[in-house]
């Protein structure tokens, strides 16, 4: 009898557990690929995905790191083979090209139903659109460029403030250059990749002698020529190392952090890396690219899109909406040293607050690159023109005229927005 009772209880327990398993549906599996590799954001994306997975039971996200170059190659190959993740990260100026390649899915209807698109800044959101205004993703973070200054070096050269115009920047760069110690007045990245174009553009788009700033479809304008001439003068006078043509943005920041450059063009994300600065007082100011009190900068940042062929488009969009929600946008800015892409998000930075204030202000003067499906060709024309001035001594006006020979037909066929 006792044995029969035990068997009955065991059978009942088994049937209960079986039905429990049968009722609980498996969560939808979503594969997310990213290229966050700085310590702060690489950790944050993993933590956030875990947080999202614990917040609900319907969707399970797996975040995989793929190096940036490799990820871009995978998108290109995947556009043909269909082997794409469900959600993919992309640098904002590249998104237009990948939309054109068919890598991302049109999620306009889902996002409009969400009702929060109006909260996003126009520039970052436009980088997720095709020429018809259809939306393929959401901008997750923004950044821009400003000037980092070694205040001790400036003070030693007799300055108690940071530069406020291009002319003053040149003057200060001259005063802080010391050939004996191989210390340069100014450092920036002019490498022959998109990174180079990102840093070169503010100098071509500055306000000179009261003239309006120009876009990349008019680089033969006087203001653009003057901007490039100013950089060329700093190279020729030895205030800036010619090696900038091989420096990545990380290299340029490292020159500044090691005290080898008194001033440097740096990005918002470098604020989270200021512990690398080697024992001197530093500060940040608007990038002085032209007339007194004016500035221009470039908008950078990363977008996340739902890849074509994703089986669970709704689940992917639901995650993107959570990732780019008002609250999470604010949190990401603090965690990763970036600027939110939504006007209703506030990042309460608990470090480098003054620096963040400068970058937030700089966003008012920052221009987006493109968006244009053929931006990579436009970008190549810009960094090649700059390198020809720095390396071969080509006159800035001639170099920019040559760049326009490439750019003009592209923008005539499909104008910039």
């Amino acid at each position: 009898m006792k044995k029969q009772l035990t068997l009955a209880i065991a059978a009942a327990a088994a049937s209960v557990s079986f039905s429990a398993v049968a009722v609980q549906a498996e969560p939808t599996e979503i594969e997310l690929w990213h290229y966050f590799d700085a310590s702060a954001d690489a950790k944050a994306i993993v933590d956030w995905v875990e947080e999202y997975n614990t917040l609900q039971d319907d969707i399970h996200i797996t975040a995989t790191y793929v190096s940036r170059d490799e990820l871009m190659n995978q998108y290109t190959v995947g556009a043909l083979s269909g082997e794409l993740p469900d959600i993919g990260m992309v640098d904002s100026p590249d998104m237009a090209s990948y939309i054109s390649l068919g890598v991302f899915e049109d999620i306009t209807d889902e996002l409009e139903a969400w009702g929060e698109l109006g909260s996003f800044y126009e520039g970052p959101l436009s980088s997720c659109m095709d020429p018809d205004g259809r939306i393929y993703g959401l901008p997750q973070n923004s950044n821009c460029l400003a000037l980092a200054c070694n205040l001790d070096a400036l003070e030693a050269a007799g300055y108690d403030h940071m530069p406020t115009s291009l002319a003053e920047l040149q003057e200060m760069a001259a005063a802080t250059t010391d050939p004996d110690t191989q210390t340069f007045g100014f450092a920036m990245c002019c490498i022959s990749t998109e990174e180079g174009t990102f840093q070169i553009l503010p100098w071509l788009r500055g306000t000179q002698d009261g003239a309006e700033a120009v876009n990349v479809d008019n680089l033969t304008a006087d203001s653009a020529v003057k901007g490039l001439t100013a950089l060329a003068d700093m190279i020729n006078n030895g205030y800036m190392s010619k090696e900038c043509i091989n420096w990545t943005q990380a290299d340029a920041f490292n020159q500044f952090a090691a005290g080898k450059a008194a001033m440097a063009e740096v990005g918002t994300w470098h604020l989270a890396q200021t512990d690398a600065i080697d024992g001197f007082n530093y500060g940040f100011c608007l990038l002085p690219t032209g007339d007194e009190g004016t500035s221009s900068s470039t908008i950078g940042g990363e977008n996340f899109g739902v890849c074509s062929g994703a089986e669970n488009k709704e689940a992917c969009v639901a995650f993107l909406e959570w990732l780019c929600s008002q609250e999470k946008e604010g949190e990401w800015g603090v965690t990763a040293g970036k600027i939110p892409t939504r006007s209703d998000s506030t990042s309460e930075y608990d470090y480098e607050q003054e620096g963040f204030a400068v970058f937030t202000d700089e966003m008012n003067y920052a221009y987006a690159r493109g968006p244009h499906a053929e931006w990579p060709s436009i970008s190549e024309a810009i960094y090649s023109a700059t390198q020809s001035v720095f390396v071969d001594g080509v006159a800035p006006a001639d170099a920019l005229a040559k760049a326009m020979e490439t750019i003009s037909p592209i923008v005539e066929e499909t104008p910039l927005p």
């Binding site: 090209s97 490498i191 010619k242 053929e374 060709s377």
Partner: protein, 295 residues
């Protein structure tokens, strides 16, 4: 008659054995090659890769390439880089192989240490090169110590190409040494002893024994070296990104940038086909030479 039939059947059976290798070659080599060739005759770019609308444009991509001064510079760079690397890594590698073929104390450990550079990933070699050839890097520091003002290696086109050649040789020398040493060890010592008895000096032994008996190894090393060096990619990509102003761009990097950065897929495919054609000609030359040796 019966013998003839049996012989023909055996021959037919033999073909069956090459079917797996043939299928492998067809799928892994043939398909991408034909696909790439077709792509190079079309106008596929970012606008029509997936949306369709690309058309055959014949040899236009090739004609444009050979009228493009950048491509001609890239082609020139590729040959200069390959030939310079081959000359230096083969000569120094051969000298090392001869040296380490002598039996002396610590020969093994030193040889092992030289091989470290060969075992290092090319991306690491590229980063090392970027640092040691920077203006304030190791090379200029050493030159400064002996009173020589070092050049701006990676900023000027000609010196940047020299710098990448040096870094590639740093990797290629141990590879050459290793292969040539295996050739040297296969030469019987008796031959050298006989030559010594006949009164041959070191130079005569080298010219009339070592070089002729090493001919096969030397050709194999040069051929492999040419193929590996001609399709170089990661060293330039990491060390100079092909700059300054394409001065260190080679066919491998140029094709990659055309296809995967600029999304001009057909142009990139045409560059890749030029690269393939060059290697194919060298390969044919090698096969012909092997066939002659067999005869």
């Amino acid at each position: 008659m019966k013998t003839k039939n049996a012989s023909a059947r055996r021959e037919n059976d033999g073909y069956l054995f090459i079917i797996p290798a043939f299928i492998y070659m067809l799928v892994v080599l043939g398909y991408p090659l034909v696909y790439n060739l077709i792509l190079s005759f079309k106008n596929v770019d970012v606008k029509n890769l997936t949306k369709g609308g690309s058309v055959f444009i014949g040899f236009e991509n090739y004609i444009n390439l050979f009228h493009d001064s950048t491509f001609l510079l890239v082609l020139r760079n590729t040959f200069i880089f390959t030939i310079a690397c081959l000359v230096f890594q083969f000569t120094i590698g051969f000298a090392f192989a001869m040296f380490f073929n002598q039996k002396f104390k610590l020969s093994g450990p030193i040889r092992g240490m030289i091989l470290v550079s060969y075992m290092m990933p090319m991306s690491v070699t590229g980063l090392l090169g970027k640092n040691i050839f920077s203006n304030a890097g190791l090379i200029n520091d050493l030159l400064g110590k002996i009173g020589i003002q070092g050049p701006e290696w990676l900023v000027t086109g000609s010196t940047a190409l020299i710098a990448v050649v040096i870094m590639n040789c740093w990797v290629g020398i141990p590879f050459n040494m290793l292969l040539l040493m295996s050739g040297l060890t296969s030469i019987s010592q008796d031959v050298y002893e006989s030559a010594s008895i006949d009164g041959a000096n070191w130079g005569q032994k080298f010219l009339h024994i070592t070089l002729p008996l090493m001919r096969g190894s030397i050709m194999a090393v040069l051929m492999l070296g040419f193929i590996y060096t001609f399709r170089a990619f990661d060293l330039m990509y990491i060390m100079t990104a092909g700059g300054p102003l394409n001065a260190t761009d080679v066919l491998g990097t140029y094709s990659y940038v055309r296809s995967f950065t600029q999304f001009k897929f057909s142009e990139g495919a045409a560059v890749a086909m030029v690269l393939f054609a060059c290697l194919f000609i060298i390969g044919l030359f090698y096969l012909r030479m092997l066939a002659k040796e067999d005869d």
